[in-house]
Symmetry: C2
């Protein structure tokens, strides 16, 4: 059933291979003057090779290569080094691959500013020290309190759940750690004990506990809590038994297998290296450790529709009476979204006989790491007709076609939450990008006033209200790179009927507009938005209409953080349901791995992409889409949030792009009529 051929040129988008990572690592280690370590336990005061990742070549070069027989773009890696000795972070371009021979500091070129060391992620090396710090400076001195309040002993341990951002202003690295019972889903096991650790210094011996929270009361130090506790002036937490209510263990025995998906005549798609063919579709794929999954050069019947479709960011803002969660704003790319694309479980995360692909990455590790089965690809039968009609007027006849579509999926489990990311390719020429949330909610210990921020969901546990916003980049190239942003909607107009002119009636009219500047094309949440949004071409279809793709956004998003807040610019993309910008190689991503820990001075502020208010008429356009949902946790979020109803996304669908529905050419349709 394959209509196309695999295209070796798609390797231009391929993630680095294990060998390529190794070569880059080796090359960087040869730069003795940089004094780089690759030990996983590298301390904050040393220089650490944190990340190696493919640098996707500039679009113009890629297009010359793909479309105009131009030379293959140079293959290069991005390398991120944390310079603990110098107090800054550097990004390098290293190339060419294979056999790298040069590196170039591109930090200022890419971000316009230097990156302070405080913008870096917390590495395994720093966590080792942090956990030791907690052990020595918190758990040890408080062992009596921990036993009396929480039943902590050798068998019953607390583990910290960190809150972000780490502080209140630029250069802070002060992390609230909320302690939770080490049971299944520790995120829903908070005990009401939190500490604020200042780990700003690269010298761990200078770290200190700045504040302590216990049962709703604040103390300036661990000693202060210990003293008050001994003196009996603390309102003590009453010890309760440990209950593993976060357990996902089935309570009943499987009696009977549920329905399964089978491909009786084999798969109708093909995966070769990083290239996929499915019916009329072809595309290349990759997985960025930072931003997550992405596809490139998406073609239908060999005509490119998207240059790139990619995950950019996942963000959550929480409300709580407790100090940690009360200020929490998670930006998942700060952890690395693709980094946490773990192995998928057959039959649960994807169908049993899906195709599973291994990925390799190099992030916060001593070398490249293989993650088996971290991407799955399968054709899903949707259990419904894609289209059908039964005629019983005048004569009986039937025609129809079942709906099946190719799904490209990763699931990223970043601490408590699991996001399921799907790109879906339909036989109609539509592509969908969507995300569903599951996993554990972030919860807080119930204190006075907690119910202003959510509902109780477990003994002494509040499920805290929060937003989910995800950001997607859709670099549509609709019949070429030069596109327009067009809107369509309806409007009632009062017209006199030509056949009964004395009679007036309100009738629906089509209203079309073309938005020509980035500021016009920045569609804010809450503002009235035209119902149809299109990226369209100068080319017309057989009927004279602009060939276009429509963006249909599915979202139940909550309220975006007010712009008055200093953290807002790190997530300013979430102001807009849809924003359309002129493509720039310097605006590859709407967020950055440095935004989480330097929220007050984030090196990428998406709203600045629109600030120059570029003309977007007949330009290479990029559509940036925000989807999400407001999450008011409820008892049924225990043990896990369910995917049903908890998601959002965008459907990119042809609208006068073709001359008729392309599924009419599908080999799977059927018809009948009476003999």
């Amino acid at each position: 059933a394959l209509r196309g051929k695999h295209d070796a040129k798609s390797r231009v988008f391929a993630d680095l291979s294990r060998d390529e990572y190794a070569q880059v690592q080796e090359y960087m280690l040869l730069q003795k003057d940089l004094c780089i370590s690759t030990r996983q336990s590298t301390r904050p005061d040393e220089n650490f090779l944190f990340l190696i990742e493919l640098r996707v070549p500039r679009k113009a070069e890629v297009l010359t290569y793909l479309d105009a027989q131009g030379p293959a773009p140079r293959r290069e890696a991005t390398v991120v080094v944390y310079y603990g000795t110098e107090g800054y972070v550097k990004e390098y371009e290293v190339g060419p691959l294979p056999n790298p021979s040069y590196h170039r500091d591109v930090t200022r070129e890419r971000y316009g500013v230097d990156l302070p060391l405080s913008a870096r992620s917390v590495t395994i090396g720093e966590y080792i020290l942090l956990f030791q710090f907690i052990e020595d400076r918190v758990f040890s001195p408080l062992s009596t309190l921990l036993w009396e309040s929480f039943g902590v002993d050798h068998e019953h341990q607390l583990k910290p759940f960190e809150q972000m951002p780490r502080g209140l202003r630029a250069d802070d690295r002060h992390t609230w750690m909320s302690f939770c019972r080490e049971l299944s889903g520790l995120y829903i096991q908070p005990v009401g004990f939190e500490v604020l650790v200042n780990h700003r210094s690269t010298n761990a011996s200078r770290w200190r506990v700045e504040r302590v929270f216990y049962n709703g009361q604040y103390f300036d130090s661990v000693d202060a809590l210990q003293d008050a506790y001994s003196a009996g002036t603390v309102k003590k937490i009453v010890k309760t038994p440990w209950e593993d209510y976060g357990s996902l263990k089935p309570r009943t025995r499987p009696l009977q297998l549920g329905p399964q998906l089978v491909n009786p005549e084999g798969a109708r798609y093909s995966v070769s290296h990083n290239h996929i063919l499915y019916m009329d579709w072809s595309f290349a794929f990759g997985l960025s450790a930072a931003t997550g999954m992405r596809v490139f050069d998406v073609r239908f019947r060999d005509e490119r529709i998207l240059y790139e479709l990619s995950v950019q960011e996942a963000m959550s803002v929480y409300g709580s009476m407790t100090p940690g969660l009360g200020m929490t704003k998670f930006l998942d790319s700060g952890f690395g979204i693709g980094r946490f694309a773990h192995e998928l479980v057959r039959g649960v995360d994807c169908p049993y006989d899906a195709t599973y692909v291994d990925t390799y990455r190099y992030i916060d590790a001593a070398g490249p790491v293989r993650t088996p089965n971290s991407i799955c690809i399968f054709e899903l039968y949707l259990g419904q007709p894609l289209r059908r009609h039964f005629a019983d007027f005048f004569h009986n006849s039937y025609g129809g076609m079942a709906n099946s579509a190719l799904v490209f999926r990763t699931i990223t489990a970043i601490e408590n939450y699991d996001y399921m990311w799907d790109f879906v390719f339909y036989q109609t020429g539509a592509v969908e990008a969507k995300v569903h949330a599951t996993g554990y909610i972030s919860a807080s210990f119930l204190v006075q006033g907690s119910l202003r921020h959510g509902h109780q969901v477990a003994p002494n546990v509040l499920g805290n209200i929060h937003t989910h916003f995800i950001h997607l980049k859709a670099d549509l190239d609709v019949a070429g790179v030069k596109n327009m942003f067009q809107t369509k909607d309806m409007e009632y107009k009062n017209i006199s009927l030509p056949w009964a002119p004395q009679h007036y009636a309100m009738t629906p009219h089509l209203v079309e507009k073309t938005l020509t500047t980035e500021k016009e094309a920045a569609l804010r949440h809450g503002a009235k938005t035209p119902r149809y949004l299109h990226v369209s071409s100068n080319q017309t279809n057989r009927w004279g209409h602009a060939r276009s793709y429509r963006l249909q956004v599915y979202s139940f998003a909550g309220e975006h953080l007010p712009e008055s807040q200093p953290e807002e610019r790190a997530m300013s993309w979430a102001r807009y349901k849809v924003a359309v910008t002129k493509h720039k190689d310097s605006e590859r991503s709407s967020s950055s791995v440095y935004s989480q820990n330097n929220m007050w001075n984030a090196p990428v502020d998406f709203s600045s992409f629109l600030q120059d208010n570029d003309n977007i008429h007949n330009q290479d356009l990029v559509a940036w889409v925000t989807a999400g949902f407001l999450h008011i946790p409820h008892a049924e979020d225990i043990p896990n949030t369910v995917t049903v109803g908890n998601g959002g996304g965008v459907l990119l669908r042809p609208h006068n792009y073709f001359d008729e529905d392309p599924s009419i050419d599908s080999p799977t349709a059927c018809t009948w009529s009476p003999a």
Copy 2:
């Protein structure tokens, strides 16, 4: 895997059997004084037994029977008779079944007014006369024109596509018929020739053509067109070849089967009579010839969640330069929604091994008619986890469960459009009601100014802009019949941080409200609506929160017809995204079979349900949900609109109804952790 038992009491909701229809028909024919005919060709000036349908007993009686060991409610039928001899329509209650012995005129009791004969549907009997009329009074005199303009000959025929409502004011029965080539999907084959037929009289010999439309020009009669045509003063349509672009015939041979759904260990649900069991679910079902499918007494773990979930109406409003479609407002229950629930095609409309159920109905026929396989029931594997979590912090573990759900489906093909209606029952306790549209669009011949109302989609054919609104009734009974309507949302409040009081931050707060009157609870489209809508109980869950079900509406609805329009009150339900009313037996349905043909005086005006502004606090509540989408047709609507992206619905999901996610008890979950 079945946890419950089939409940014979659910027969109280069962549609009439073939034998029951026959008994009612026989009983009515015995009432000689009524002079009723049951011939299918009964003329408009005769009395016709149009409809026999189950009359669902009053809720109070049913609940006494189901819950309090009360007596079985009397089984009764509704009978609709068109009195051509008298000029009115009557509704009767006929009972008891079996062996009916009484009939009672309930017209005024149900509608508060008498029903004029003009409110009736066009029966087969009337269509026979109408088509003869067209043959004699339009086609015959114009045969030369029809040949020269359209190529009409013995092999090439035109067929009429009727537009609604039939006129401009009460008591009109003036139908614009738009002529289309008799090819696949005649609705997209308009030729630019339409006639306005006045068939108000019950005496077909008094019918007349009131206006003629040809190629954008209007004429007062067929003769006037014929004369002008002969005189050469008409702008003629240039004959074009007949092109079967609406054909659904596959153009390529099936090469390879697509993915299929299988139940390797058999179905995990059971259907007995009109009762279904699936995992923790049980419910009764029926199919009303007028309003379509419905389920009753929906229980999860034997606790009732919904007394009724049902389709109420499907409506569309069109814009066009052509006279017929220019005023068109379809109300599908005027045709009968369930009436057109035709046989489902295995493997296309539903999975091959779904369970298919036959239905019986009596509408516009000489006797009860069996429609084989008109409902399908199957468990759908959704190709995704229902929930999952992978932990890699501190220790590796995984727990998850695949998402499969029971689907209850009918597809109703009413002239051009096919609506796929799904009720979906999830293992989380959520129920979804949704609809997708497919089939043929309604199109018009391209004339001057047409592009104000849509896009060209075929040679000389415009796809006309239109709305789709569907209405659903959800009589939720959440932990009993006495419920509240509650809303939840978020709001940012500026608070001083308790641990750093000089620092203020905007943090998300939960905002809860209870709406206590019907007018407050009538949430209009376009108005700002709280993000969470709940039907809640006085009962609390383990954590002290009101047990509730949340209504999450999926809709891309267009603009509702302005209230200034005389037709609007027949569809006033579409003003509201969600409206919550106090349950009344007299307010069973938000529309009526009489609304289409008596739009200016519709016997049911949903907005009147709210007019008395009943208190809805601690009452039996009914939630009425509107979903839909704006449809701006495009080339890809040819030959058929696709289901992908063209739908809407509502998800009813537990929110603090349980103490934890009930899927944790599912026998299909799995976990693993390292040995």
